[in-house]
Each structure stands twice: as C-alpha cells, then as structure tokens.
Point group: C2
DNA sequence: ATAATATCAGACAGAATTAGTCTGCAATAA
DNA sequence: TTATTGCAGACTAATTCTGTCTGATATTAT
C-alpha cells in the first residue's frame, strides 16, 4: 500500500533517541526506548538487533547496558536506516525487472526511485534531535 | 516493504498504452492491453475498472469497445494514477498519526512525503509515450 | 559467587494485505 | 440474436506485517 513499515518508523524513532544520547556517550536500553516511545519491547528488540547487525549501532550487555550509535548523527541519514530495515529504499523494482528491457514504465520509476533516495539521503539524524 | 503494488505498476503501464492511442481516439480493450503487457486479464480488468470510476478513463461497451483517456496525457501525472490505485501517495502516515503531536520523527516523514509527491507529480503520461 | 539486568537469537502465529481467480450480468455492435 | 466487451463483486492462496514467546549468553552490582 505504498507505505514504510512500522519497523522503519519505530527504527527511526529509536535512532533519534540514540542520537540524542550520542554526545554524552550514554547507553540507552531497549526497555527505556520502548517505554518512552510506547513501542512493544519484543518487537523493538528485534528491530534494534537488526540495526546492530548492520553495525550502525553497538550493544553492551549486562546491568546498565544498552545501545549507542557507532558514528555521529551528522553522518547517519534516514536512508541508512531505511535501507537496513526495509532492505530496499526504492518504491518500485520495475527498473530491475527482467520482463522487458524496453518497458514503457521503467523511465518513470527510475526517476521516482532516485527522487526518493535523494530525499531520504538528505535528512540526517542530527536534524531530528532538536 | 516500501514498494508500490503491482496494481500501480500495471495501472501505469495500461495508462501509457491508452495515452499512445489518445490522439487517434482509438479505443483499446482490456484484452489487448493484457496481451501486450502480459498482465492477467482478470486482474487488469479490476484495475482498469478502478481507474474508470475515478473518471480518468472512459469505457465503451460492446464489440470493438474499449477504453480511452478522458483528458490529455499532458494533464495526467503518475501521481494521479498512483493516488487512485494506492489510495495514498505517501510513504508514511506518521505525519497524520494521533499518537504524539510532538513526535520526534514527524519532521522527517513530512519532508519525505512531500518529495515523493512532487516526484510523482512531475512525471506526466506524455513523457512516457515516446 | 550469585543474582539481576540486559543483549542476542530464533521459532511461532494472528491479522492484514496482495495479487489474483472465478462467476455472472449488462450493454452494444455486427 | 449472438458474439464481444465492459462492469461488478464474491472468493481465495500466498505473502508480508506485526508482533509474541522462549530461552541462551554476557556483564555488572552486590
């Protein structure tokens, strides 16, 4: 239906919170984020885990453990996050479809994909912290 | 998963074919489009029907019947089509979410939605006919 | 050392959406 | 009047989404 999934929406919210704590180097636990953002703990844990595998955040186990960004919020775009959680940052796979190399619609989707990628790329986490 | 549905992809392809036949005022049947574009006839019929209800195309029954655009391909954008078939042309409903008026992520999705809408709007059917 | 806390991993499942299929009626042209 | 085409809607298999649940592992505080 043309929408980002909850995964990406929750993931972005979580990343913004981590961004806020980047300077102080404070770890934030999944439980804290879950409470603050009213996101299911179990579900959020899986999302966070996926972000960690992509090495955009890092986890520390044990009491007072939690997560932190591995790089500055200036260098993390919404596109980075979406790419990890959605596997695609494209609206349409049409440009990559093997059906017909001269597909009449391909041109449109190529352009639209590019515009979207650019829009996602331009927004950095640092802009969303305030 | 962040993608337009087949409905929108098929719908756009169908609309491009109708656009090609706009000048000659020739009707094109669902069967013809289905054959040419290798799209399931039954499924395509439903898509076309939805486009007709939105009055962006018009159907004529009977032998040698078919469909035609109700206005010039210059005045039909990809956004028009997507809006009809997907019900939304936004990537995220976050900006419209009642959860939290000061949601930290809202800003991002507002901008991304706007960029996408603009990209969809800018591409007219007339550009895709060649 | 032990208990508490937190990450980490993966199986499982209900609900929703997608992508069609199938049946039949209605209108029109040959 | 018959073949063709649009038109309408019920139905369904498959997939994806949005979680839940169980348990293991690592680390820290006591």
């Amino acid at each position: 239906m043309f929408k980002v999934t909850k995964k990406a929406e929750y993931g972005l919210r979580a990343m913004i919170i981590l961004a806020k704590n980047f300077k102080s180097k404070q770890l934030v636990s999944v439980r804290e984020i879950s409470n603050k953002e009213k996101i299911s703990f179990d579900f959020l844990e899986k999302i966070i885990s996926q972000l960690e595998k992509a090495k955009i955040i890092k986890g520390s186990k044990g009491v007072n453990g939690g997560y932190s960004l591995t790089k500055s919020p200036n260098n993390i775009s919404v596109r980075d996050i979406v790419n990890i959680l959605e596997e695609f940052d494209r609206i349409s796979n049409c440009p990559f479809c093997p059906r017909n190399k001269k597909c009449i619609a391909k041109n449109a989707w190529v352009k639209i994909n590019a515009s979207l990628a650019k829009a996602l790329e331009q927004i950095k986490l640092s802009q969303l912290m305030r």
